[in-house]
């Protein structure tokens, strides 16, 4: 184990592992922020800090780091890097050095994000960074802008790399309609990143220019407009939800197909209807984040319809996933438990999003704990569970060793219980009026009991995740040898040795006409 070899590596698998380590570090930091907030909220009034600013910085760091430092890099950095070349039978990505650059930029971004805790006046602008507050706060908005820009740039060059890789480096015989669903999902996610990240980059650049260079893009007193930022921001950040959603659903498809030993139900509907539909719709639904921010009425109504229509492609993907269980031969190892858990969490999260598609219901629900509960279910927790499922699933491939099955399952159940305690309670008090981003809820004292319950739930949740993290570390160091294909999967990544050498296969694989990654009945 040579540190220099790892830092200067151009091997997609090592780049992937570097992404995994960085994003898990980010996950731990952002998780600690969540725990600090939960402890702070466990009693009315000040609990562990008497300074609301500290709370606001935790809140900022929790949101920004979880999304930009953990979920997006873990899904489009780690999984894409590690799995895509292996799944398409390629020796590496198309531009290995560009790949190395993207992981370096990712680490620079993570370090910038962590500087939040060491500089005076850290950013307190929430992960959304809305002006005018972000241009008048004493907090350091520039750090926020630069973190976003660096991570966004890493993502863009990653996108160029993977689209090229998928288009040009597939193994002989591996046609588009034989690609793993995960490959399609990643392709979709990177298309979205390439289209929309530049918009986010523009938005955060403009707020820093307003704050530090005296421009007036968002200052109405001097000809600017406050709402422009919100439109730019959500024009990226709603598609960003699908940048998270698509790869994590891709991971679920791989796991469910493997552990049900079954073909994916209605592959074409999932790929062209589901993934294609999401790509088409993702750019025209952002106004549902602005239902109460004073937008003109007709666009709120128009985007209500497009937002509701998102249920069609998402529904097709969910039918594909549940249908894959039909007539399967299902076993329940840890990755499958996490994946099935996501099915239920995502169902709750997705359906509780439907009220939020209606502007009239949103007049009451927006900016309450209901919204927080909903997006944690649908994106935060479902995404994180999928990431954990995927890491467990490819763990034998990455390390060549096996994790401990007992602790894996225990970790799942503990996390699953904790999750539902926290986020179900959250939605419940949200409907009753509890507003979000509150350091002190003294004029909503009726919710103190619920907040205490959520703090207990969060502690359980934290223990569950910690069990999984320890299980991986112990498993990677002294787990039993796993063999090359412990799950008897058909997918190409399992046809090479574990862990795969540099170059992946001694001689490049090719696939036969009747092979697909899910053709278990043809084996």
């Amino acid at each position: 184990m040579n540190l220099k070899e790892w830092i200067f590596t151009t091997d997609h698998k090592r780049v992937g592992v570097l992404y995994l380590i960085g994003s898990m570090a980010a996950f731990i930091v952002a998780g600690i922020m969540a725990m600090l907030m939960r402890v702070e909220l466990s009693t009315l009034g000040p609990t562990i800090t008497s300074n609301p600013s500290s709370y606001n910085v935790w809140l900022y760091a929790h949101g920004a780091v979880m999304i930009l430092g953990f979920q997006i890099p873990a899904l489009t950095g780690f999984f894409a890097n590690y799995c895509i070349p292996l799944m398409i039978g390629a020796k590496d990505v198309a531009f290995p050095r560009v790949n190395a650059l993207s992981v370096w930029l990712f680490y620079v971004g993570i370090i910038l994000a962590l500087l939040t805790f060491f500089i005076p006046d850290p950013p307190d602008v929430m992960w959304t960074g809305y002006p005018p507050y972000s241009t008048i706060t004493a907090g350091n908005t520039a750090l926020y802008s630069f973190t976003v820009l660096i991570l966004g740039f890493a993502s863009i060059i990653g996108g160029v790399n993977f689209l090229t890789t998928i288009a040009y480096m597939r193994a002989p015989g591996l046609t588009w309609n034989k690609l793993n669903i995960f490959v399609w999902c990643t392709l979709g996610a990177f298309v979205l990143q390439l289209i929309f990240v530049p918009v986010l980059g523009t938005a955060v650049t403009l707020i820093s220019m307003d704050k530090y260079l005296g421009t007036t893009f968002f200052d109405p007193a001097r000809g600017g407009d406050v709402l422009t930022y919100q439109n730019l921001f959500w024009f990226y950040s709603h598609p960003a939800v699908y940048v998270i959603f698509l790869p994590f659903f891709g991971v679920l498809f791989e796991i469910v197909a493997t552990f049900a030993k079954n073909r994916v139900f209605n592959y074409n509907a999932v790929v062209y209807g589901g993934i294609g539909g999401i790509i088409l719709l993702s750019g025209v639904v952002w106004v549902h984040h602005l239902y109460v921010s004073g937008m003109i009425d007709w666009i709120r109504i128009g985007q209500m319809v497009t937002t509701l229509m998102i249920s069609v492609p998402v529904g097709l993907m969910l039918i594909g996933l549940v249908g894959t269980l039909y007539k399967g031969s299902i076993t329940f190892e840890t990755p499958m438990l996490y994946a099935l858990g996501v099915l239920f969490l995502f169902l709750i999260g997705g359906l509780t999003g439907i009220p939020l598609a209606l502007p009239s219901l949103t007049l009451h629900l927006s900016e309450t704990y209901y919204v927080v509960g909903h997006f944690h279910y649908v994106m935060a927790v479902a995404g994180t569970f999928s990431i954990f499922a995927g890491v467990y699933y490819w763990f034998p491939k990455i390390t060549g060793r096996m994790y401990n099955e007992f602790w894996g399952k225990l970790g799942f159940w503990v996390t699953f219980v904790g999750t539902n305690i926290v986020f179900w309670t959250m939605m419940d008090i949200g409907v009753k009026g509890m507003p979000r981003r509150y350091y002190d809820y003294s004029h909503f004292s009726q919710f103190e009991g619920a907040h205490q319950l959520m703090t207990i739930g969060a502690a359980i949740l934290g223990v569950g995740f910690a069990i999984a993290l320890v299980n991986w570390i112990v498993g990677a160091m002294k787990g039993a040898p796993a063999g090359d294909n412990p799950w008897q999967s058909m997918s190409l990544e399992w046809t090479t040795v574990s862990p795969p050498p540099h170059g992946n296969w001694p001689s490049p694989p090719s696939v036969s006409a009747e092979w697909t990654p899910y053709a278990y009945d043809r084996r």
Partner: protein, 263 residues
């Protein structure tokens, strides 16, 4: 084969006609002003409520409707998933690989198009109902009390038509529609009144509005800030004090007199 296609065609037709009915039927009534009788037909109005259509009970009604809708869908999906998990678990001596048949092209299209139509039908049904309620939230009755709100870090400053000014305390008469025209002197704030199921952001450079109908005299309602506005965001709160029309008149005129004296 032919029979199956016919069956699908019929199902699709029913779905389409449902969509048309949901969208067309409710779309028509939404074109009218919410104060008119059409809305009352949808039972958003409390019986005996005079001319003003209060959107708050309509919110509760639509919320219940949507909640039933999503609960039914959720339970169906969850039960089906749970059944598959249980029914197709691997048992000793059972098959080692799955045996799902490969879908024929017609079946594949059917499994994409029919669910899509079902989801779309439900979407449009909800959209139509949501739209009706939205119009009620945005159509302010002509008989109203119009109050100007300037929000700022960290207070709500109300100005009444006669010049009376209050801070963090909005005194209103029962039974009259209250319209707030809102702006902000510094950053984003959101005037959230949970009891009236309504909020709207205020910001510099634009004027936004919301309205609500206080019903019961003697009641107080919490007002709170729902858009992150800085360090003391969670302390930015106020209350709405509902008085009887007579009490309100007294208070209002006394306030006007006091304002005149001090100026």
């Amino acid at each position: 084969m032919n029979r199956i296609l016919k069956h699908w065609a019929a199902t699709a037709l029913i779905a389409v006609s449902n969509v048309a009915m949901a969208a067309g039927g409710d779309g028509q009534s939404s074109g009218q002003t919410p104060a008119s009788g059409n809305i009352a037909k949808l039972q958003y109005l409390h019986k005996g409520e005079a001319r003003i259509a209060d959107p708050a009970p309509g919110w509760d009604y639509l919320w219940k409707e949507v909640l039933i809708d999503i609960t039914v869908i959720g339970i169906l999906f969850a039960l089906m998933t749970a059944f598959f998990i249980w029914r197709y678990r691997r048992v000793p001596g059972g098959p080692q690989v799955g045996s799902a048949p490969k879908l024929s092209p017609a079946a594949a299209i059917g499994w994409a198009v029919i669910p899509a139509f079902v989801f779309l039908a439900d979407d449009l049904f909800l959209a139509a109902n949501g739209w009706v309620l939205w119009n009620k939230f945005r159509d302010v009755p002509a008989d109203r009390l119009e109050i100007h709100l300037e929000s700022g870090m960290y207070s709500w400053d109300y100005t009444y038509p006669n010049g009376v000014q209050t801070q963090n305390e909005l005194v209103v008469p029962a039974g009259k529609a209250i319209l707030l025209r809102m702006t902000s002197r510094d950053t984003l704030h959101s005037h959230f009144i949970p009891d009236f199921r309504v909020k709207e952001d205020s910001m510099p450079g634009r004027t936004t509005f919301l309205w609500f109908l206080p019903r019961e005299a003697g009641k107080e309602h919490v007002v709170t800030c729902a858009e992150y506005c800085g360090v003391m965001h969670s302390y930015m709160a106020g209350r709405i004090i509902v008085k009887t029309p007579e009490e309100f008149k007294q208070w209002y005129e006394a306030g006007a007199a006091a304002a005149k004296r001090s100026s």
